[in-house]
């Protein structure tokens, strides 16, 4: 592969590299999807035939999505340190292309997870979605914030012992505001009442912007010793 020097091209190449390695083994995607399927079936079976209120549906959906994401998103940096390719990556690219390449890959992974989970969730839990467009917007914004925070925390843990158990502990308090907003907005999208575009969507966007901006700045301090 020819080496191209602009940051944009390097980001693109890194994303391409992530997708290629993932396509070779398909370990990340299959583990992520099976994890979410396991959680969903556990929830669905224990609930049985009861019908749930929109609030409960939203809570369950985000809990499944959050813990599935926690199970899968740390891999982007974990596999680099496991396979000893971190140094090569350091030589190849500066910090920002690495961060954004991994971040976009995580976003794509989460979108795939959401696309897989949402239809099954609707079928298994007998949910109705009167506001599908709004729900997609909330999921889009939520997934971006989730991936941004998870990518930074995962990179933080490359130099730490016992990484995978710390990942959820470190991510949870940072993602919690996002989670609370997403649950409220998703509940509104599941309920048959009118969905008004209110300030909460604005806050969600603001949260994404702050998290991404700060993660991009702080990543420099992790990437360069």
């Amino acid at each position: 592969m020819p080496i191209r020097f602009s940051a944009f091209h390097k980001t693109k190449d890194l994303l391409y590299k992530e997708l290629t390695t993932e396509f070779r083994t398909r370990y990340g995607t299959s583990a992520l999807l099976m994890f979410s399927l396991t959680t969903l079936s556990a929830v669905s079976m224990s609930i049985g035939a009861q019908s749930l209120s929109p609030d409960f549906l939203a809570i369950l959906f985000w809990i499944i999505l959050f813990f599935s994401a926690m199970a899968g998103l740390s891999r982007v940096f974990l596999q680099e340190s496991e396979q000893g390719t971190l140094q090569t990556l350091r030589i190849y690219a500066s910090s920002q292309p690495v961060f954004f390449g991994k971040f976009i890959y995580n976003v794509l992974l989460l979108f795939a997870l959401t696309l897989f989970l949402l239809p099954l969730f609707i079928v298994f839990l007998n949910a109705s979605v009167p506001h599908l467009g709004e729900l997609c917007l909330v999921l889009f914004l939520g997934n971006i914030g989730l991936s941004g925070a998870a990518t930074l925390i995962a990179s933080l843990l490359t130099q730490v012992q016992g990484q995978s158990s710390l990942f959820t502990i470190l991510s949870f308090p940072i993602i919690l505001p996002l989670l609370l907003f997403c649950i409220q907005l998703t509940a509104a999208a599941f309920s048959s009442e009118g969905f008004t575009l209110d300030n909460r969507l604005l806050f969600l966007t603001g949260y994404d912007v702050v998290i991404l901006g700060l993660a991009s700045v702080l990543f420099d301090y992790i990437w360069y010793d």
Binding site: A149, L152, I153, L156, Q159, V160, Q161, G162, L166, I169, L170, F172, P173, I174, L176, P177, L180, F181, Q184, R200, F203, G206, Y207, V210, I211, L214, A215, L218, Y221, I222, D225
Partner: protein, 206 residues
């Protein structure tokens, strides 16, 4: 030595003032005296966390290990004061609202603060090398700090709260008995001095 003696005397004077000088509040009676412990501890924990973040920034800029030691110690003190504020708040809630814990917005916020700094110390304990530990924990503390404004300003808007209005409230004037206000300020000052005394103690094993 002189500082310690005068701080002890000051603390005792404030405790005396809280129990003998402050009049019982309307509606709350003697329970209001908890507030003279609760508000200063909450204030000091915020101060400690802000200073800890400040020393984290300083460490990332200068890479001096002393800045990290101060940041860590301030975070530890912040965690202790935060726990004291949580417990005194929960006791106050039990006596006035009827339950120790009901996920009031304030309780959500303070609980997440405890989680953040619990995670911060879990991260620190997992890294052996001091420079790496200092760098990564500083990054984490600052990253978590970014989520704080959302917790403090946004969440209370969407959950109804039973927490009394802050002393400096939205309407901009202070509704408080002047004696109470003076004692509260004195208690906050004493608590801040106790924090500073603990922060700059000579020997530290953090």
């Amino acid at each position: 030595m002189f500082f310690d003696t005068s701080l002890t005397a000051l603390t005792l004077a404030v405790i005396w003032a809280v129990f003998y000088l402050v009049p019982p509040a309307q509606g709350l009676g003697d329970l209001v005296r908890i507030a003279f412990f609760h508000i200063p501890t909450a204030w000091v924990s915020v101060l400690a966390f802000v200073l800890s973040a400040w020393w984290s920034i300083l460490y990332l800029k200068t890479r001096k290990i002393e800045a990290d030691a101060l940041s860590c110690r301030s975070a530890a003190l912040g965690l202790i004061f935060c726990l004291l504020a949580t417990i005194s708040g929960a006791v106050f809630a039990k006596l006035t609202w009827g339950a120790y814990w009901n996920w009031d917005p304030r309780q959500i916020t303070i609980f997440i603060l405890l989680l953040v700094y619990g995670a911060y110390f879990a991260l620190r304990s997992a890294i052996a090398e001091p420079p790496v530990r200092a760098r990564l924990s500083a990054v984490y503390a600052l990253f978590a700090g970014a989520a704080m404004p959302f917790l403090i300003f946004v969440i209370p808007r969407y959950y109804s709260s039973l927490h009394p209005e802050p002393v400096i409230n939205a309407s901009g004037h202070i509704d408080m008995d002047p004696v109470m206000l003076a004692v509260l300020l004195a208690a906050s000052a004493v608590m801040t001095l106790i924090y500073l005394r603990l922060l700059f103690r000579r020997r530290c094993s953090a």
